[in-house]
Amino acid sequence: MELAVEMRNITKTYPENNLRANDGIDFSLRKGEILCLAGENGAGKTTLMKVLYGLESHEKGTIRIRGNQENISSPLVANRLGIGMVHQHFMLVEDFTVAQNVVMGIEPRKYGIAYDLKKAVSLVNEAIAHHHFSIEADMLVRNLTVGQKQQVEIIKMLYRDVDILILDEPTTVLTELEIEALFSSLKQLAKRGKSLILITHKLKEIIAISDRVVVMRQGKMLGTYETKDVNEQQISALMMGKSISLSIKHAKRTDESQPVIECKKITVLRQGQERPLLKDLNFTAYSGEILGFAGVSGNGLGVLEAVLGGFIPVFDGKILHDGNDITNIGTAQLRRQGLAYVPSDRLQIGSSLKASVQENIIVGESRSFRKNGFIDQRQVTKHTNDLLEKYSTKGTAQMPIGTMSGGNIQKVILAREIERYQDYIVFSEPTWGLDIASSQFVYEQMASLRDKGAAVILISSNLDEILTISDRIIVLYRGTRVASFVGDEARNLSKEEIGEYMLGIRKQGASHV
């Protein structure tokens, strides 16, 4: 069969964190097929596609397009070769019309210099009609729904006579109906001979639309499969990988367990998106327990983190801390009332890279470190050095934290938050990007906090992590709670089983929740 794209031995390392995002990847796309590129977050899917589209360079490997070896140095070259990409974040000028966005760069002209606006509208309307989309060329992009904006992005590529189309997580922000419409359009395109690549981690969609599926994990290629030969469970197992064995003792909820954080029917909305980000979420975090939230990205984990951290308000519902209402009081107030929180974005939110380690340690510190009204630098330095030693972190109090390794930065953040915690602590993706030893360290800290009676809330898309250390697990799918497991039930859960809930294949009955 004729190959549209053939990538051989592609290797790409990000110099910033020395992360090998693509490690000797072999990838091929047949002409006229729909291929899904599946994998967890950070598996390297988007990087591979950015290499193909000329947005990222690669150190090793060759790319052949329709059999010819090519050097794709920019999106312009990619377009010329008939490759188009629809980004996860729309590249649209909101104040322009659909037509103006679509033809940008190859505008129809009259009299040599003038922009033929009428012709642009008619040309784009033709393209829209040809591909059976539901938008009109003279609509203002600002007024379109998310699904319609995505159509504009697709038309933008098709208008350029692209015959290899990459779509990065195209369904994340769409409603069910919009997804159906998108899929039928994509199938139409494939029928006309276009070759399509969908980056996704949604199993249902892989089964529904693809001819073949490629699975990646941690920068490596696991294999290419004919979709008809595999089922959802098998793909899920491949994506999630084998469990690592870490022995962390689990705790049982006892009579002494107290509710610490209670969320009552919280709903978070965002305008321009029909689906709520979180919907009627109920849960209680008890003292002496690690409560794990599992889910695939885009299903509400990040939103839950932002709500608990006080960054975004809830639209509806109540949050209680030790029975006191703490709904929408903002981060500063939450901190004063005992919030300890290790954020998922440790470089942008959890630390200030240009500030020194000790300046990172004392942020929002309730202890004053003050002598005669001034900050007592010696005491701060001593406190910082004590913490660095206690958490076996290499570094000095005065160095900018940005010069530390990722693992050590995370240790500083952990040290700060653990030292200040009162009765609950939130961890979001605490081991993302860390090596095994550092991860183990984080888990031990979490377990010891739990044993001291803390209510530990863990938000993580890493299933191993969830299964290893949670005493109780809640699974989020599309902003709602689809399953929860307590005690032995949580301990004996297999990855495949929980993966099916995370990916929306299964759902617990209302009675279970």
């Binding site: 999106p75 377009n79 980004h87 322009f96 760069g105 965002r270």
Partner: protein, 300 residues
């Protein structure tokens, strides 16, 4: 109100350099760069135009050469800002400082005079219009009998509108300011359009500056006296639209013309009247950010 008509007539003369400078500034502003160098560019244009007019004994040639010099300065500004990723704000200040120093230093070096340099061989700017046209009641008195620069500025304003809203180049300039990644994801370079905007700023400021000195037949140190800064304000008050620039520049021109009159006849201090457009712009900016904020609050 017999003072109104001459006042409107002089408001039109006063507003023209503002209009020209703000037109160029509009391009940089729309491409996403705050161009505070308008003042320096205007001053450079003012100085170079009259110098070259003096040496070439041709106002047209002098103006053209003045524009070229101003565009060179704006090209330096653009390449330092864009290629070396400098802060446009600081480089803009540098251009203003450079122009204020360079013009006086050169004027001193060439004419051994750092004060007002009067050029005898430069005739007054010819005023256009026929007696018949000037006879049209009111309108004739206001709109006829200006220099070519005034009418040229109106033509350029129309051209400015045409370029921004009716050419691919204009759409790309605006897209650069609104969403540069939209351009780069299609393989175009936003910085190229920013560079072009700076050059356009150089062009219009060169022309606007030429009007300042040629109208006077002399170079006065710091002749621009903040007109470039006002041009920046005109862009904001004009809501970043060509027609808005015309209205906003006219408001400033009128305030200036009125302040001269009010000082004498009405005993209102001219400084108060000159301050009004700034306060007006401030209120307009506050109003628009309140509006944007309300809209944003619903969205987030």
């Amino acid at each position: 109100m017999q003072f109104t008509i001459p006042m409107l007539h002089s408001a039109i003369t006063i507003m023209t350099p503002l209009l020209l400078a703000s037109m160029g500034g509009l391009f940089t502003e729309l491409s996403g760069m705050l161009n505070i160098a308008l003042e320096g560019l205007l001053l450079m244009g003012a100085f170079c135009s009259i110098i070259f007019s003096y040496y070439t004994a041709s106002m047209i040639l002098g103006t053209l050469l003045g524009i070229v010099c101003t565009m060179i300065l704006s090209a330096i500004l653009a390449s330092v800002t864009l290629n070396l990723k400098a802060n446009v704000f600081i480089t803009g200040l540098a251009v203003n400082l450079f122009a204020s120093g360079m013009t006086v230093v050169l004027s001193f070096a060439l004419f051994a005079n750092k004060g007002v340099v009067v050029f005898d061989n430069i005739p007054p700017l010819p005023l256009l219009g026929t007696p018949e046209l000037a006879k049209i009641p009111i309108l004739g008195d206001i709109f006829i009998g200006h220099s070519a620069f005034v009418y040229l500025s109106w033509l350029l304003l129309a051209l400015c509108y045409f370029v921004l809203y009716r050419t691919p180049f204009g759409f790309r300039i605006r897209a650069t300011g609104l969403h540069p990644e939209a351009l780069s994801s299609l393989g175009m370079r936003p910085n190229r359009y920013r560079f072009a905007s700076f050059l356009i700023s150089g062009f219009t400021c060169g022309l606007g500056g030429a009007l300042l000195t040629l109208n006077l037949g002399a170079f006065v140190p710091n002749i621009t006296a903040g007109k470039g800064w006002i041009a920046l304000v005109v862009i904001f008050l004009g809501n970043k639209k060509p027609i808005g620039l015309l209205i906003a520049a006219f408001i400033f021109g009128l305030a200036d013309a009125f302040s001269n009159y009010a000082q004498g006849a009405l005993n209102i201090p001219s400084d108060f009247i000159l301050a009004i457009p700034y306060i007006f712009t401030l209120l307009a900016m506050i109003g628009s950010s309140i509006y944007a904020n309300k809209k944003g609050a619903i969205e987030s």
